[in-house]
């Protein structure tokens, strides 16, 4: 192979190695510097530039919300386990299984309503502009997944049914 070509390929490889090494080191260092796993609310402070007073109000709301959320989640988990035992043995969807599904759906709806209420309360504890942004972001993150799934199932994402 041509000597010049070998030199150029070697230089490119060395450059790529320097770039990759510095990239991964910097990424790792930044991630370990920025992460504070102990505090769930750290993201709010960083993303919405909240003051200590805002954070204190939000922390109070957050700590009040968590036990209620955990209680409903435990109920959902218990109902799901019961559903599994009901559905596990049979091959048909019995009335009992249907009732359990309705119960789970009701609990989920209750939990979602409580969650949205919490988001609204937190957004009110923030400065107005940040509160609006927070609420929009949380709706997108929590309700968006259902919307995406429903859109894809109903065929609204591009194709329409031929009648």
């Amino acid at each position: 192979m041509n000597r010049s070509l070998v030199i150029l390929i070697g230089a490119l490889a060395l450059g790529a190695a320097i770039f990759a090494g510095s990239f991964f080191c910097a990424r790792h260092t930044t991630m370990s510097c920025c992460e504070q796993p102990a505090d769930d609310l750290n993201w709010l402070r960083l993303e919405f530039h909240l003051s200590d007073a805002d954070m204190a109000r939000i922390r109070e709301l957050h700590e009040g919300y968590l036990p209620k959320c955990a209680e409903l989640c435990a109920k959902i988990a218990a109902a799901k386990r019961e559903l599994e035992t009901i559905v596990g043995t049979g091959t048909n969807l019995t009335a009992e299984a249907q009732a359990k599904l309705d119960e789970i759906a009701g609990l989920r709806a209750q939990c979602q309503a409580q969650m949205l209420e919490h988001f609204v309360a937190v957004s009110r504890a923030m400065p107005p502009e940040q509160g609006r942004r927070y609420l929009a972001e949380m709706k997108k993150l929590t309700l968006g997944e259902h919307e995406q799934m429903e859109h894809s199932m109903s065929g609204e994402t591009g194709h329409e049914h031929q009648h």
Binding site: S4, G15, M31, P37, T142
Partner: protein
């Protein structure tokens, strides 16, 4: 030059056979010349670049640029990842996956 020499020369001229050139001989010759020139140009371009790369000042500057670009993009990426992780932590606390 005497008359015998002249006779000999004319005899030799008539005796010499003109070689039959292969078809498209001239075009092939020109093509070969062009190919040789093109190859020489490419080689010189690569050589120039290789000699530039081997210059210590250029090599050091290129390495510094690659290093700084890596640090800059890595820091940006790290910040974005850390922010995303913090967002996921918050989301996991307030909106468990079972209800999303």
């Amino acid at each position: 030059m005497n008359s015998q020499d002249q006779q000999l020369q004319s005899l030799l001229r008539t005796a010499r056979t003109a070689p039959v050139l292969p078809p498209r001989f001239q075009q092939d010759v020109w093509r070969r010349i062009e190919d040789a020139e093109a190859s020489a140009k490419a080689d010189s371009w690569l050589d120039a670049l290789a000699s530039l790369v081997l210059r210590p000042r250029f090599a050091l500057a290129a390495a510094a640029v690659m290093f700084l670009t890596g640090v800059f993009t890595g820091t940006l990426e790290g910040r974005q990842l850390a922010q995303r992780e913090a967002q996921m932590n918050y989301l996991a606390a307030v909106a468990p996956h079972a209800i999303r």
